[in-house]
Amino acid sequence: MIVFLVAEFTVRALDARRVDPTTYPGAMKIAARESIDFIFTGTSRTAGGIALSVWDEELSRHEGRAVRSLNLAQPYSGGAPNYFGLRELADRRARSLAGCTVFFELSAGLPAFTRKWDDPWYFEGNAQIVVDYMRPADLARFLSTDEPFDRKADIVFRYFTRTSRLLSLRRSLQRSVSWRGLAITRRLLTALGGEYRENLLGAKLPPIRVLRTDEHGVRLQRERIRARTSRDALARQKPLRPWKETIVCAAAIMLKERGIAVAFHEVPAPSFAWTVNETETRRLDRADFEAWAKGNDIPIIRSHIAVTDDDFPDLSHLARSRREEYTRALAADFVAREGKGGREPPD
C-alpha cells in the first residue's frame, strides 16, 4: 500500500505542473485562464495536418487580434470521447468558449468519426479517454449497449478509478518510460556500431503522438491501407447514414445548442481514400451528410490544395512539408466563408 501511495502521489505531483494542450484535461486547464477561439477535433490526420502556429497567425491577421487555438485531434479517439470532452468544456468553461468555433474532421468528403451510440464508443487501445469526462448517465447508457461484458467491466473499473492519476495517466506514463528507454537503447546500439538505415518515408511525416514514423512502421501502415481498398473490402461497405444518428453529429448539435459555432474541415486525403468513398453506398452517405449539414446550417470548409499520393508517406497522413500550405489554405477558406466582417471578439 505504501509503495502504491508513493507512486500515486509522485504521479500527481508530476502531473500538476504539466499542461498538455492536445488533450481535453489540458484544454480544461488552459480554458480556466484564457479564452479559446478555435478547437480542432479529429483523427491523427488533423493532429498532424494542422500547423497551429500558422493557423493562429492567419486568423490573428484577419481578426486583428491574437487568437488562441487548440488542436485536440488525437489518434484513436472517436466520437464519444470528443462528445464528452467538448460537453465538459462547453459547460464548465462556457465563458472561455464564447465565440469559439469547433471544427470536426472530414476526410474524403465524409466525417472521420462515423460511429453511432449503438457502436463501440472507443478504440480498444485507447479506452481511458472515454471515461475522463463521462457522466453517470453516460455510464448507464454505455452499460445498456450491446458491448461485451469485458468491455463494460473495463469501463466501469476505469470510471470508478479515474481519480487515481496513476491509473488514468498510465498511457502517458507508458509512453514516457518507453521514450526514455528508447533513447537509452539507441545510445546503446550506437555504441555497438548501430546506424540508421535509410528512413526517407518516416522523415517526411509530421510529429504526432503514437504515430509510427520509423521506416518499418510506415511501410506496414501502407500495406494495411492497401489491403483496405481491395474489391472485397469495397463490396462489404455498409451505409453510414443517417448521419443525424452519429455521435459526431450529436456533438455538433450539442455545441450549437450551447451557443458554440461548429464547422467541418476537410483534411487532404490520398487517392485510395477517395476510391473508398466513390462507391454508390458512400455517394449516398455523402449526400445525406451534406443535406444534414445544410439543414443545420453547419459549414463545411474545404481547402483545395492539390495533392498527390506522394504527399502521404504512409498513405494516410499529409507530409510534414505540406502542412503549412494546407493550414494557410484552410484558414483562407474559413475566412472567406465567415464573411468580410470577421468574428466578434469574445467578452
Binding site: F157, G181, L182, T190, G217, L220, E223
Partner: protein
Amino acid sequence: MSVNHSGGRAVEWRRDGILEIGRTVGYNRHSTLQNDHPRGTTLLFNTWTFFAFALVVFPLYYKASFRWQNRLLLAASYVFYGAWDYRFLSLILFSTVVDYIVGRRIATTEVASARRRLLLVSCVVNLGLLGVFKYFNFFADGFQSMLGMAGIHTSPVSLSIVLPVGISFYTFQTMSYTIDIYRRKLEPVRNFTDFALFVAYFPQLVAGPIERAKNLLPQIVSPRTVCRRQIIEGAWLIGWGLFKKAIIADNIAIFVDEAFFPGNHWASGSLCLFAIYGFAIQIYCDFSGYSDVARGLGKLMGIEIMQNFNLPYMATSPQEFWRRWHISLSTWLRDYLYVSLGGNRHGRWMTYRNLMLTMVLGGLWHGAAWTFVLWGVYQGALLAVHRYLFVDLGLAGPGGKAGRWISRLVMFHLTCFGWLIFRAGSVAQIGSFLRRIFTSFILDLNEARTVFAVLFFGGILALVEMWIRNVDDPRVRPGWNGPIGAAAATILLIVALIFWPPQIKEFIYFQF
C-alpha cells in the same frame, strides 16, 4: 451433410451443424491470435469475465461439502468450456464416457487380447476425434498433393471445421488414464463425476498442464483442505502468471507480429534477430503464464497441479531443455510414445529413430502444418545429435561455471532457431529471416523499439524468474509473504497497470 459438385471446379465438402463453423484448423501465425470464433468467447484468465466467473465459483467452492465441491467444479468446468462453444461439450463428454467405461472394463478384464482391444477402442476414439478436428484437412491436402505428383489429379476435399479449444490437451490427459490402467499402474475411478472432473478440470482444461491421472485423480477423489501456504503461493502464481501473459507476452507480441507480418519484405537483420528473441520470450511467457495461473487456481482449491516449466532457457542441452519446457507434454511423449516405441533399449540407431519419431509427432501435436513437422524434425535431430556426441562418443561438454553459461547461450540460440521454424508462416519466411540475419545484418537504429521491448520485458522476466527460483528454495521461502515479497508484488502491480496492453489476446497454446 451435403456435397456440392460444381462442374470441374473444386468440390467443397460442407457439413451442417457442428462442423459448419468457419475457421479452418491451424495456428494462425499470420496475424495476432484473436478470438475470432463466431459463437462465444473463451473464458480467458486475463479477462473480467473470468474474474466474475471466479468470484462466483470460489465462494461457493469454499462453502460446499467435498462431494458438492466436485459437482460444483464439474459444472463450472463445463460452463468454462461451454462459454466458448457449448456444442463442443458433446465431444468432451463423449471422450469422458468412452474412457470411463473402457477404463473400468480394462480393469475387470484379465484376457490380454481383450484388454488390448479395449485400449484400442479408447485410442481410436480419442485419436480419431483429434484426427478429424485437427488433422483432416492437413492430411487430405497432403494426400492430394502426393496423388498430384503421381499424375493423378483430384478435386480438393476439405472440411470447413473449427479446432475445439484444448482438444489436444484433454485428449492426451484422458488417454493417459486408460493407458495407465492398461499397464496396471492405476485403478479405475468409481465415481463418474470424479472422472469427468479429472478430464474437464477447468484451470488446466484448455492449455494444460496435461495432468496425469495418478497425480490429479487422488486429489479429486479425496477431501481437500486449503492451507495458508497454498493461498500465498497460489496468489503469487496467479499474479505472476497473468503478468507474464498480459504484460510481457502481449506487449512483445506487438513487435513480433509486425516482424512476422507476411508482407514484411523490408525488415532488417537486426529486426529479424530481435523478433526471434522476442518470440522466445513471448511464447515462454504466454504458455508458462497460463500454466502458472492454472497451478495457482489449483492451489486455491487445495489441488496441486504439476509444474510445467522450470526455467527452460537455462538448459545446457536439448535433453535438459525438454526436462524444463512443457514438462507435462514431454513426459507424456516419453512415457507413452518413446517408451512404447522401444526407447533406448534396442541399440543406437533405434534410439535415434525413436527420438526423431517422438519429436516429429510432438511437433505435429502442436498443429497441422509443415512448419510444425519441420520443428519436430529439428528437435528430434538436436536430441539425436546431442546424444551421439555426448553419450555415444562420450565427448565432454564445457566444464565449470563459464562453460555452463556458454552451453546455456548456445542452447538458447539453438532453441531460438527452433522458434523461428515454429513461428514462421512458411518455409520461405524461415529462409528470408535467415538470409537477412546472416547475409545483410546491420544494427538498424530504426528498429530500436523492438530491441528496447525485448531488453525491457526480457530483463523483467529474467529478474523475477531468478528471484522466484530463489524464493522457491525452502530456506528463503518466508520471502514470499515478507516485506520484500509485498514490495516486489506492488512494484509488479504498478508496472502491470502502466503496461497493461491495449488488447486482450488469446493464449497461443489455445490453438493446439
